[in-house]
């Protein structure tokens, strides 16, 4: 797919967004998205396409590695993480860095963190983490912060700039309230408001957190109680991209200038909302598993205020 032009292909013009979203979600195949003026447009199934040929900055998102998970849905979650990293290493051009949107481990054990680090470090990329609820369940709740909390605030939130984009890593998996969803909390929201204050509205913003910052399916807890407040603070910005994990499948929604996107897990798939009795790990036949696991790469072209997201399954 060398010379693949993200900007000028329009062969999918006749396909409605709903249809494309269905394809993306159900076929489990990589789809290339470009976002122009807040409206995403599918540019077709990518197969082995790489973002590498595009100019601009490319970064990667991986999520939900669940290192330590060994149940029937995937007895070797460390192995599939290694395959994902192998895919990253095989990219013809090195991405700028990687974000990991949480659930690095399954049970927050030191050995799980060590194994995850051993594999992920093979990508030789800077990795910006946010924790999932599975990363904060050791007795003293200290292992995640010891490893990844340096320079962060509160439970581990922070921001940084790269390639002209302002990135904000948020934590919405602590201090959860009975009957509720994910939670950012007053302290983090105040920090976020302050972090965005005075920033040029033309700065592209990427918000990333573990649990979706939009309401995917509250019956299964797939949403964040106070994400509306966070989204108010980014309202005036021209380009906002929200990247999440937690639900182990690709979903996308656009609201005005904000594109919401969730990534696949590298460990095991979870069912589409409401299609199973619970959101627990979904056992599929072995041949299908790798088509439901994967990584996402995100490309940003300076001056064009667009982020193109490519979801690539581990296989098929």
């Amino acid at each position: 797919m060398s010379g693949f032009d993200h900007d000028h292909r329009d062969e999918d013009r006749g396909v409605s967004r709903r249809k494309v979203l269905e394809c993306m979600t159900w076929a489990g195949t990589g789809v290339l998205w470009t976002v122009t003026g807040g409206v995403p447009r599918s540019l077709g199934m990518v197969g082995s396409a790489q973002a590498a040929e595009s100019p601009g900055m490319t970064f990667l998102q991986i999520s939900d590695s669940h290192v330590g998970f060994d149940k029937p849905a995937n007895p070797n979650a460390l192995g599939t993480l290694e395959e994902a990293i192998g895919k990253i290493n095989a990219m013809p051009a090195k991405p700028a860095f990687m974000i990991h949107t949480g659930d690095i481990t399954h049970l927050s054990k030191a050995a799980e963190f060590d194994n995850a680090e051993r594999i992920i470090s093979q990508a030789k990329l800077d990795v910006h983490y946010v924790p999932g609820e599975h990363d904060l369940i050791d007795e003293e709740v200290k292992l995640y912060k010891e490893r990844y909390g340096r320079g962060t605030r509160g439970a581990g939130w922070y921001s940084f700039d790269a390639g002209g984009v302002h990135f904000i890593g948020l934590v919405n998996v602590v201090d959860l309230k009975a009957g509720g969803l994910g939670n950012l909390g007053a302290e983090q929201l105040a920090w976020l408001e302050n972090d965005l204050k005075g920033r040029s509205k033309s700065t592209p913003i990427v918000l990333f957190a573990h649990i979706p910052l939009w309401t995917v399916y509250p019956t299964w807890g797939w949403g964040t109680e106070d994400s509306g407040r966070a989204l108010e603070y980014v309202k005036g910005f021209g380009s906002v991209t929200v990247l999440n994990g937690h639900i182990h499948q690709v979903m996308q929604k656009v609201e005005g200038n904000v594109t919401f996107h969730t990534a696949r897990s590298t460990a095991f798939p979870q069912p589409a909302p409401g299609t199973a009795p619970s959101p627990g790990p979904m056992k599929v036949e072995d041949a299908r598993l790798r088509s439901l696991l994967g990584i996402a790469s995100v490309n940003f072209k300076q001056g064009q205020e667009r982020l193109a997201i490519i979801d690539t399954p581990l296989h098929g």
Binding site: E133, G179, G180, L181
Partner: protein
């Protein structure tokens, strides 16, 4: 108990009926976690009863009742027990999946 006569057996049955919480403990005072749901969602018990929660999911869960009890993270087939020594309604939830809620009513 091998030589228990009919009269003693009758007394034992009557005693069991007077102390249903004790008698039923083995099979009744358990809460299972299946498919991200506490079952039963509400359990009524007598004072002094020990309730045991068991996680049957492939995903870890917790049992948390603010200020009263808090389990460690329970992986698959792990259990947590708590003995209720005061009457009242104990609303609890899973701190990892807060949409999962349940209640123990202690009478």
């Amino acid at each position: 108990m091998s030589t228990i006569n009919r009269r003693d057996f009758g007394i034992a049955v009557a005693a069991a009926m007077l102390l249903p919480a004790t008698a039923a403990r083995a099979e009744g005072m358990e809460v299972h976690i299946d498919n991200f749901v506490f079952q039963p969602a509400q359990l009524n018990v007598k004072l002094g009863t020990t309730v045991t929660w068991t996680n049957r999911d492939d995903i870890p869960h917790t049992v948390v009742c603010a200020g009263k009890f808090r389990s460690k993270t329970m992986d698959t087939d792990d259990s947590f027990s708590f003995t209720f020594t005061a009457a009242g309604d104990y609303k609890y939830f899973c701190s990892l999946h807060p949409h999962m809620t349940g209640m123990i009513r202690v009478e």
